[in-house]
Structure formats: C-alpha cells, structure tokens
Amino acid sequence: MLEGTTSEIRERKALRINPAKTCQPIGAMYAALGINKCMPHSHGSQGCCAYHRSHLTRHHKEPVVATTSSFTEGASVFGGLANLKTALGNIFSIYDPEIVAVHTTCLSEVIGDDIPTIIKKSQMEGVIPEGKTVIHTNTPSFTGSHVTGFSGQCEAFVKYLAETTGQKKNVINIFPGWVEPADMRELKRLAALVGVEFIMTPDTSDVLDSAMDGKYEMYPDGGTTVSDLKAMGDSFLSIGLGPLASGAAVKTLEKKCEVPGKMLELPIGVGATDEFINALRLAGDTAVPREMERERGRLIDMISDMSQYLHQKKVAIFGDPDHLTSMTRFLVEIGMEPAIIVTGTPGKKWEKKIREICAPVNEKVEVHAFSDIHFLHQWVKANPVDLLMGNTYGKFVAKSENLPFVRFGFPILDRVGHRAFPLLGYSGGMRLVEKITDAFFDKRDREDKDEDIELVL
C-alpha cells in the first residue's frame, strides 16, 4: 500500500500528489442540484460533466442529472456559442426544467466564452421559453477548488434571482454551505425547532437522498424553489454557514438587497452548534426549546463518558476548509490533539484561524492549505498519530500506517452512513464521538492480546 511513500519530505513546487481537493465545476453542480427543478449545465467538453456526475453519484448513490455543451475541437476553436444555444434548446424541449444553472470549465474559460451574452442572445432568439430562467457562474478549474465552485454557484443564485419588493418579511435566509443532504435536513429541523421561518439555499435533501418508490422523477420534490430564491431579497437576515462556501452569497445579498448577513462556522460540535442555535434564537426572538437543550446535554454527557479514550489523542485530518475549521474546534472540545491539518484549497487566512483554534492544546500544529494527502502521509510517517480523519482517499494512508480512520468530508465513496445520518448539530456531534471511539475500539478489540481484551469499555 502506497509503497513509494517515505517519511523524507522534499519541497515540491509543481507536482501535486494525492490531492485534497478537486476542481470548481463539481461544486457548482452540487449546489445547482439543490434548486428545485434545476438542470445543472456544464459548458465544456462532455468529459467534465461525466466525471462530475459519476463522482457525485458514487458519493450519494443517487441519480445525478446534468447536461453538457459537448465541445469538440471545432467548438474549442470557434467558441461555444452555438453549442450552448443548441444545448439550451434541447434542455428545455426535452427535459423541461424551471431553471438551468450553467457553469463553465477550464476549456470554455480559456477560449473566453462570454456566458451572459450567450444567455442574452438565447433569450432574444426565443431559445429560452417564456418564464424559464438561465443563470451562470464562472468556475475555471485552475483557480480555487470544488468548494469555491459551490460558493460561486450560491452567489449566482443571489446575483441572478434575489429580488427586493420593498416589504421585509419575517423570514431568514440560511446558506448551509457544502454539507450532505442529511445535514441540510438536520439544519431545517433545528431551525424549525427554534421556531424561525427560513429559506435555505441550496437544499439537496429530498433531491440527492430521494425515496425509492418505483417511480423516477427527474426533478424530485426537494430543492429551494425559484420563487424562494427570488424571495431571499425580502428576508430580514441571512445566516451563512462556512465562510468559504457561503460567504460570497451572503455578502452579495447584503449589497444587492440590503439583507444583513451573519457569518458563522459550520455547526459541527458543541461551540459551533451553540453559535448557530443562538443566532437562530436571536433572529426569531424566541427561546431555545427545552428539547434542544436536552439534545445538547446528551452530547456533553457522551463526551464526558468517553473522555478517557479521547484525551490527548493525536489526530491527522484533511478535507475542505470550512469542514476542517469546525471539526478541529470539536476535536479540541473533546480533548483530542489535532496534530496535522491539510486542505488542498488555497487559503492563508484559514491557516491562521486553525492555528488559533489549536493553540490551547497544540501550539506546534502543522497546518497547510494548498497541500495534499501525500504530504500529510509523509509527515505522519515521521510523527505518529492516533487517528486519521478525511474522505475515502484516506483509507490508503490508514491501511498503510495501520491507523484508525474516520471518514469525513467529500467524497465518501465506500460507506453509506453519510447519506442518512447528519454530522451537524448536537446529535451529529454524538455520531462523531461514536465514530471516533468505534474506530479506536474496533482496532483495539482486533489487535489486543487475549489476556488484554476488555468486555466493558
């Protein structure tokens, strides 16, 4: 397993080995799937669309439908106008969506296709039927990462669609960030429990975790509706979760429709969930129900029960910046010691933030943005840790170093739990404690000598 990896770390200027990120368009596609009756459209070579659909399908085990401009060499030379117009004509006549969310690729970006102009032309020529909407976001693969692609798509919803009628409503906007459909469902449950009215954008629950009932719906019931996207401009507050994924949309809405925004970290763990619940409470001018407090209390109880197994355990973790920020904070909350934290997405500010979070338990924490899993693996070889956390690609590192491994982040291609059970909120925190201790205990039970094995843990 990963035989060529040694503990000798050489500086690399050009070669990425085992990336901890992918490209922007897949994030835009995921966000667009969270809009009701929306067709994500990839403006580029059909391989991009095929790759994104395949990987999202492998992660969600659900239909992931999207269209492509199917560029050939000719389109790459003469521009993609004709391809996009033909595509829009076919999409509306065959698949009848309410809205098409176009995202670009490195191909269409390098040749400089001007998407707003193509959309305008298509409108003028009647390619886009009356009452239907086409929006776009620029997602060149050579900047940012899949997370910034998600962020760009969310911002595009606001830019193209949010409207102000002049009458503020007693509704808040929630931008959930790039989290699982199950997490989005959990956020809605928490907001409803606190008693606020909200519009959540995007919302992939009941789209990418739809029921099996013998019928296939190209556009399942879930997803934020276009009318809700428009209505976001009349809300009195936006709560953005995860600054990288949601910050741009919140800021743009502030500017465009004067909806004040509050940015929070993703509600993973105790403190970050407290902040989310508190923000909801203040927004709704309500009291936090006793039921929520009991839920919180159960999480604290579990952390206390398991504390002896977690205390000062060293963790190597990789993933996406927003996820890592809150997860690191949670690891510190439960007494663990983040040792190395790696993301593929660029971000100097993020590195500083993570160091601050880790300062109370580990001032020498290794934090690297724009880095990769190979680097993390090499570092771990020289600096042993107790636990590895990250997406499915981490399993090769875990196997090669015989490390307990908790799957977390995108993508998870080889387990099923993320589809059904949230990691966000207090109950998500309990699930995390369970997953971490299970990983420790499973290894221990398997490897303990007969005389050491414990019945009770």
């Binding site: 070669l15 199917s70 050939t72 490195c106 693969s141 019928k215």
Partner: protein
C-alpha cells in the same frame, strides 16, 4: 406488436410495443435537428445478417444527457492508466487527475519487493491561473523532475488536458528533454478532452503512444511454446487474472495483457509473442493492426465473457497453434471447468430463462455480455455502445466504407512499416496457410449480427430514451454505467454496472461466468423491489375513523 395478438414470442419480450413503435416514441420529443441525428443512431435490427448503417461515432447533440466521457478518460483512464509501474502525471488543473484516480478498478499487484503501484497515486501539475496565462511547460518539467526525485520510477507518462492544448504547451518536447536528462522513458499523450467525440479518440491516441514509446523496446526472447498477448483486457474486477488462470492451465504463455494487471516490462517485450488476441476491439484494434504491420504478428477477435465465448476462443487459439497436445489440453481444461459451471448454470437458469435484459455500455461490453445473458436463457431486447464505431456494430467489413469526419481526421494515424529486422515472416506464412483452410483473422463480426431480429440497437443512448425504454418494456435487468444506475433502479429495475461491476467480479472466463450468473440471479430475484410500495398505498382509502367507531 405485443404478445396478445401474436403467438410467436416478441423479440422485445412479453411487454410493450414493437421495436419500431418504441423507436418512434423515443424520438418523439426531439426537435427536427436532434431527431435527424438521434434517428440515425437508433435502429431496429431488422436484418441481422446484413446490418443496417448506424450513425455511430458521431457528435453528441449538446444538451442531451449522455453517458459519454472525453478523450482524456479514454487515454489515461482506460488504456494507459492501468499500467501499475509507470508513474502517470496529468498535466492540467486538478480535476482530471483526481476523477481518474482509482475510479476504474484496474486491479494490480506489484510483482516484486521494492516496486511501487502508482495507480494508488494521483499526480498532477495542478495548473493555476499563472500557468494558463504564461504557459505550463516549466511547471510540467519541474513536476517530472520532482516525481523522479521522489519515486525513481522506470517510466513516466504525461497526459494533456483541455487547457494544455489550447494554450499550446508542447508536452512532447518537455518529455523528450526529461527523458534525456533523467535517463528513463518519459512520454506524453495529447489527449485533450475536446478531441474526437468521446473516449474513443483517447483510445486511438493511447494506442499510438504506447506503440511509439513502449512496444518493441526489449527484444529478450520469451521461452515458451505458445506465446500470446491479450489486447483490450483491462482487469476490471480481476478479469485478466481469471484469463491468466485458464491460460496457465492450458500451458499458454501470456507475454503481455494490454493493459490490465500489466507491467511496463511486459509491454516493452510483448512484440515477442506469436499471436495477438483482441478482447475489446474498440479500444485496441489499432494496436493489433500496427503490431501486425511492423512485426507480422497476426490477430483475431476473442471473447472470454460467457462460457460459450470462452470455449470458442480457447479452441480457436489452440487451433491457431495447431498442436494436437494443446488442442487436447484445451478440451481437458474446458471439460474440467464446465463441470463446475454446469450445475450453477442449470440452477440459475430455472429462474432466469425468459427474462429480459438491455445493455448500454462501452465499446465491446454491450456485445460481450449478451453471451452471458444468452447462457442463462435471457433475452436481450435492446443494446448499444457508448462510444463505439460502425465496425463494432456492423462488423469490420464496413471499414472501407466508413467516411472520416472532421473529428476523426484530427486524430493522428501512424504510418507503420514492416520492421526490417524484426518482422517475422513465418507468422505471415502461417496466417496465409490457415486462412486458406478457412481460419479467420483480423475479424470482428460486430454486435448486430448476433442480436435477434427486430430488437433495438441504440448508440450513445440518452437519458430520455432510456427512461422511455424502461417505461415501455420494464426489462428484468439493465447493464449500464454509474451515471444511469440509480435512475434505472428508482424505476424498480435492477441495474448492473458493467464498467465497475458494482465492485464485484471477475466476470470473465469460467469462474467469472459463475459469479455473473449468481449475481444476475440475485438481482432479478431480489425482494427489495417489492418493498417499494407500502401496503396501504395499494389499498383503497381507509374508512373515516368515526364511521368505524360507530359500526
């Protein structure tokens, strides 16, 4: 025509209209231009003996939901990617290298201590905006050096992605320079995603590159009586290992398998074989042709999917060598293997006979897997490839009539000549005498000849057409890819992924056939589909509670 008004069983199974009517319905929502295009790619197989012309290997209509991928996926993802001890570097932004990282299940084991299986690694130049603006050649050069410093591989391959071609990076010059500097083989593939109309262009580009940069480098003689190469077998789910097992039993030496489970050294030495047999015609026929021209090695088509295909292929190989001892050994192996297959097949067939299947996959699998379904007494009502050409449908005899379009013309056609020293004239002589005795070489009859009359042939099937097909016929199982799998299953029809095998397999050879029979039996007998509706959903609405209480 449905079964009620026709006593002979319909080629389209017990439900639904005739293939011609279904075709009309599938084409119905298309505008004129799209209809004209799709109409040519969707045929009723009305004369299997003389297949009609299909509009394969043509552009996908923009906006149509297609299964197809790109040239890079066909080159790096399919043909070269599986070579485990070549260090593969994707030159481009991060996505392409990431998506093609271990997602194709090309299984491999390292041969000896100290080797590295590079398939577990994804390496990329992770191009940023600066590189797009100022060029990425320097970045590539440094990346190759860093890869060498880190791993000391025996060879490095480089794959170009869309922006690389557009900004004009000359990857081949960089590779030549680094080859000289490092003293190892370094070579590049201009497989930008926009080339051609599907993965197929990438296969061709990959064949050219492997031929130019790897084939024929090592002339060490191979000591064995019967030496062959298996071309177009990628060891998905361990298929190549099952074929290896059978050949070992027969005493036939496989010099190289292109390119599943193969090492760099095997490939550089595989021109020492006496025969090439071709599994996936679409992805590797170029290689078979080029090796024959240069080294004189004849080739013919085989199929190790399904026991009938496996038996036929083994017998043909034995017949080629013409050695009584080998012919007898092959019969002995077949008899022993079939003793294990037969009881499973007999048991499974009691449940699968008469069931229907449809296959939309690949450039050869939609054909090969029909054999397995036929073994089980199942009827294939519709089939089509994702990226094949006319010859894969209609047979190689149409090759002289295929007009090259602009997209195909852009893919380089290598000019190959007989190697003055290494061309084996004895192979050609052997081929000639066997041909005179009725033996066929360089043959592929295509999918349509094998399919039943009046079934449907659909190239590059679209999402809408697939949905319509299921609505009309509700096949008992569909073989397709990951993008369609859950669409199909939401409709209550089980879908077998025939790219990844749903992480199962092998399905090749005898043991593979047993695996497949059991798997299709499980899928078509599964109870889960019956759970899709709750009991109350099929009952009349309940009486109001108040009335019940007073009753």
């Amino acid at each position: 025509m449905s079964e009620e008004n026709n006593t002979t069983p319909s080629p389209m199974g017990p439900h639904g209209p005739s293939a011609a009517e279904a075709r009309e319905q599938m084409l119905e929502p298309y505008n004129k231009k799209t209809l004209r295009k799709r109409g040519k790619q969707m045929l009723v197989n009305s004369d299997p003996g003389s297949p009609a012309e299909i509009g394969a290997n043509s552009r996908t209509v923009p906006g149509i939901i297609t299964q197809r991928g790109c040239s890079y996926a066909g080159c790096k993802g399919v043909v070269i990617g599986p070579i485990y001890d070549v260090l593969h570097i994707t030159h481009g932004p991060i996505g392409c290298g990431w998506y093609s990282w271990l997602s194709r299940r090309n299984m491999n084991r390292i041969r000896k201590e100290g080797e590295t299986n590079y398939l577990q690694y994804s390496m990329s130049t992770d191009m940023q905006e600066d590189h797009i603006v100022f060029g990425g050649e320097k970045q590539l050069e440094i990346a190759i050096q860093e890869a060498y410093d880190e791993f000391k591989p025996k060879a490095i391959s480089v794959y170009a992605t869309c922006p690389v071609g557009l900004i004009g990076d000359d990857i081949h010059t960089v590779c030549r320079k680094m080859k000289e500097k490092l003293g190892i083989n370094v070579f590049g593939f201009s497989c930008e995603g926009y080339k051609g109309v599907s993965q197929s262009a990438g296969h061709h580009i990959a064949n050219n590159g492997v031929f130019k940069h790897m084939i024929g480098l090592d002339d060490t003689p191979v000591e064995a009586k019967y030496k062959i190469n298996i071309l177009g077998e990628y060891n998905i789910g361990g298929d190549a290992w099952e074929i290896d097992r059978i050949f070992a039993l027969c005493g036939i030496k496989i010099v190289g398998t292109l390119s599943g489970g193969v090492s760099y050294d095997d490939i550089t030495n595989c021109h020492m074989a006496d025969l090439n047999v071709v599994m996936c015609h679409r992805s590797i026929n170029y290689m078979a042709e080029m090796m024959e021209t240069k080294f004189g090695i004849p080739w013919f088509k085989v199929n190790f999917i399904g026991v009938e295909g496996t038996k036929k292929s083994l017998r043909k190989i034995a017949e080629y060598f013409g050695d009584k001892q080998l012919i007898d050994k092959v019969e002995e192996v077949i008899a022993a293997e079939m003793a294990e297959v037969r009881p499973v097949l007999e048991d499974v067939s009691t449940r699968t006979t008469g069931k229907t299947a449809a296959l939309f996959v690949g450039g050869s699998r939609a054909h090969h897997y029909q054999d397995l379904f036929n073994d089980m007494g199942m009827q294939v009502i519709a089939a089509g490839y994702e990226f094949a050409h006319r010859d894969d449908y209609e047979g190689r005899d149409v090759l002289p009539n295929i007009k090259l379009d602009a997209d195909s013309r852009n893919i380089e056609e290598l000019k190959i000549e007989a190697d003055p020293e290494r061309y084996e004239a004895s192979h050609a002589e052997r081929k000639k005498s066997l041909e005179e005795a009725g033996f066929t070489f360089s043959d592929y009859e295509g999918m349509m000849r094998q399919m039943a009359k009046d079934t449907l042939v659909i190239d590059d099937i679209s999402h809408h057409e697939l949905e319509k097909l299921i609505e009309l016929y509700k096949p008992d199982v569909i073989g397709s890819g990951v993008k369609d799998k859950y669409v199909i299953e939401k409709m209550g029809v089980p879908c077998k992924q025939l790219h990844s095998y749903d992480y199962g397999g092998p399905y090749a050879g005898f043991k593979g056939a047993v695996n497949f029979y059991k798997e299709i039996d499980r899928m078509t007998s599964s109870q889960v589909w019956k759970l899709a509706r709750a009991p109350w959903q099929s009952e009349p609405p309940a009486e109001p509670v108040s009335e019940l209480a007073t009753a």
